[in-house]
């Protein structure tokens, strides 16, 4: 009941955000909030694998990149209209997640972390090699087609508020999907695998198949966030496939609180806010970000959500 109220409160705050931000002054913060919403989905993808299945992926940037290129190339090369291009992004990420997942989920722990990095590096270097198609590190730009919403009614993401709501709805659907998955028998089997894969296989859970399914879902989530980010920035670049992007996502998810629904979003929000607030005053903001990450793991190893549960909820109960 309480958590339900919490979600409702958070969601209404997010719904009112465009007007709150305009009322407070600087519309710049709306684009920052949009960015947080988009990257939350990326952190959620990492959390889904690590928090619920126990697989630490350092290669989610690969699927983020495929989402980006799916939509960008769909518009520039295939001349698709908005919706087909929009679905091409997550679709290509999901397909490539399935293909790489077949091999990757045969491994666990350190080996899994390394092979996901290796796969993402292979694709990163391939993207650099096919520079004529991908634009390499410089990337490719595209202009946004309008979104057809049935009949002759059209909206455009060039309006910052429309763009924000579009991203918010898509990401909210993704978080809702995660909740549904985790509440299902499939989700509980994933938790069983995370806690003890041998015991899980002994009670008849097909560990490999379920891990693969989870890997594909995580690839889809990363693909969605890549797609949204490409639409947001109107460009796609190979640099987003580099392992550093994956690493940042891992940090966001762990700092927010691994294995919780909202933790990744909170971690992402805090890191992007720190970056934006500090970088406008001090160019060496990376020092603050790094120090913050270290302080969190020392003083709040359960992440920010863990800290919240420990101090706020306990006191209330």
């Amino acid at each position: 009941m309480r958590t339900g109220l919490g979600y409702a409160g958070l969601f209404s705050a997010l719904l009112l955000a465009p007007w709150l931000i305009t009322w407070l002054g600087d519309p710049f913060w709306l684009s920052i909030l949009t960015e947080i919403v988009i990257w939350s989905c990326f952190a959620a993808s990492i959390n889904f694998l690590f928090g619920y299945v126990g697989l630490l992926s350092f290669g989610q940037a690969l699927y983020f990149g495929f989402g980006m290129y799916g939509v960008a190339l769909g518009i520039t090369e295939l001349h698709l209209s908005f919706w087909p291009a929009f679905f091409l992004g997550p679709l290509s990420a999901t397909v490539i997640a399935f293909l790489t997942g077949i091999l990757a989920v045969r491994l666990t722990w350190h080996y899994f972390a390394i092979i996901t990095v290796v796969f993402s590096l292979i694709m990163y270097f391939l993207a650099l090699t096919f520079k004529s198609l991908t634009g390499g590190d410089d990337g490719i730009n595209f202009s946004l087609p309008d979104i057809a919403l049935g009949g002759s009614y059209k909206v455009s993401l060039t309006n910052a508020t429309t763009q924000y709501f579009f991203m918010l709805i898509v990401v909210a659907l993704c978080f809702w999907l995660i909740r549904i998955v985790m509440a299902s028998a499939f989700g509980r089997s994933l938790i069983a695998i995370r806690d003890n894969d041998v015991r899980a296989s002994l009670i008849g859970i097909h560990v490999y198949r379920l891990r693969l399914a989870a890997f594909v879902i995580a690839g889809f989530l990363a693909g969605v966030s890549g797609t949204l980010f490409a639409l947001f920035g109107r460009y796609a670049s190979a640099s987003y496939m580099f392992y550093h992007v994956s690493g940042e996502g891992v940090v966001w998810a762990i700092v927010g609180g691994i294995g919780t629904i909202l933790g990744p979003a909170i971690g992402t929000g805090i890191f992007i806010l720190i970056r934006e607030i500090v970088s406008s005053h001090w160019q060496h903001y990376a020092l603050i970000v790094g120090a913050f990450a270290i302080c969190i793991v020392i003083f709040a190893p359960e992440g920010i959500v863990g800290l919240w549960k420990k101090y706020v909820l306990k006191r209330g109960a």
Partner: protein
């Protein structure tokens, strides 16, 4: 063409030996403490930067061979004492902590040293004839210096009391503690040695690469590959894998772009991971 390939292949072996030195440092931290150290490449970078600083302030290259590893050791001990010890060697948390550390190191270097990549003159000038090509003496020195450091490390591990303690703690932490080995001190020392080796690799590599605050990011995956292909915890395997990978990349870059060569070694790496996750050399050494 043939001569170019010979040069590239030898360059590969030289670079592989330097990487082996860095990867050994990574491997002992990984194996002993179960820590995934994402800041390891940055200590290599710190080594190159300290070399540049030594060269510009003292006008000499050679003192860097001593200064950089000492500073690396001190920083390693400091990091273990102030950060890693507090998170109780938890692997997931260590990733976040060392990622944060990596950001801090890179930013500090960018603040003090500047963002522009720099090159330094090799302290040993001159070339000699080798299979019909003119080869730089410095690269030969780099290979010999790396081999000496690697051999010294193995002797240290096998012959000294501290080295034996390190192997004991790695083998069975609880028993080692029960036998009276000061585990916490061994941890501190391991981190120090690991970072010192990365910094030493940086000094040796400095005249043949660029000095740039981002070089650590490029070398880190390569070191992890050597550690994994060689087999986790298999130190001679790590050395062999590093040299083999760099040699292959060198040879292939004679036929294709360095990017294609890198892709090839990555594909090879995933093949090894999938077929022999215990490492390429399991059962061949020891």
């Amino acid at each position: 063409m043939n001569q170019t390939i010979v040069a590239l292949a030898i360059n590969g072996i030289v670079f592989g030996l330097i990487v082996a030195l860095i990867a050994l440092g990574l491997s002992i931290i990984f194996g002993l403490l179960d820590i995934i150290n994402l800041s390891h490449g940055d200590f290599f970078m710190v080594g190159t930067v300290l070399t540049y600083t030594t060269l510009t302030t003292l006008g000499l290259f050679w003192p860097a061979l001593l200064i950089a590893p000492l500073i690396g050791f001190a920083l390693g001990v400091l990091v273990q004492y102030s950060i890693i010890q507090r998170i109780k060697n938890n692997a997931a948390l260590s990733i976040v902590a060392t990622f944060g550390l990596s950001m801090i190191i890179q930013e500090v270097v960018r603040m003090t040293f500047g963002a522009a990549p720099k090159r330094i003159m090799s302290p040993i000038q001159g070339t000699f004839g080798l299979f019909g090509i003119e080869y730089e003496w410095y690269r030969i020195f780099a290979a010999v210096a790396s081999i000496i450091a690697i051999v010294a490390f193995f002797i240290f591990l096998k012959k000294t009391k501290l080295g034996t303690w390190m192997r004991a703690v790695r083998h069975d932490r609880d028993t080692a503690t029960a036998m009276g080995i000061p585990t916490q001190h061994v941890y501190l020392f391991t981190f120090g040695i690991g970072f010192a080796m990365a910094a030493l690799g940086g000094v040796i590599a400095a005249p043949i690469t660029t000095v740039d605050f981002r070089t650590g990011v490029d070398i880190l995956p390569f070191c992890f590959m050597a550690v994994i292909i060689g087999g986790l915890g298999n130190l001679p395997g790590t050395v062999a894998a590093a040299v083999l990978l760099a040699f292959l990349e060198g040879v292939i870059s004679g036929f294709a772009t360095p990017t294609i060569a890198r892709i090839f070694s990555l594909v090879l790496m995933s093949g090894v991971l999938l077929v022999r996750p215990q490492g390429l050399f399991k059962g061949l050494t020891k």
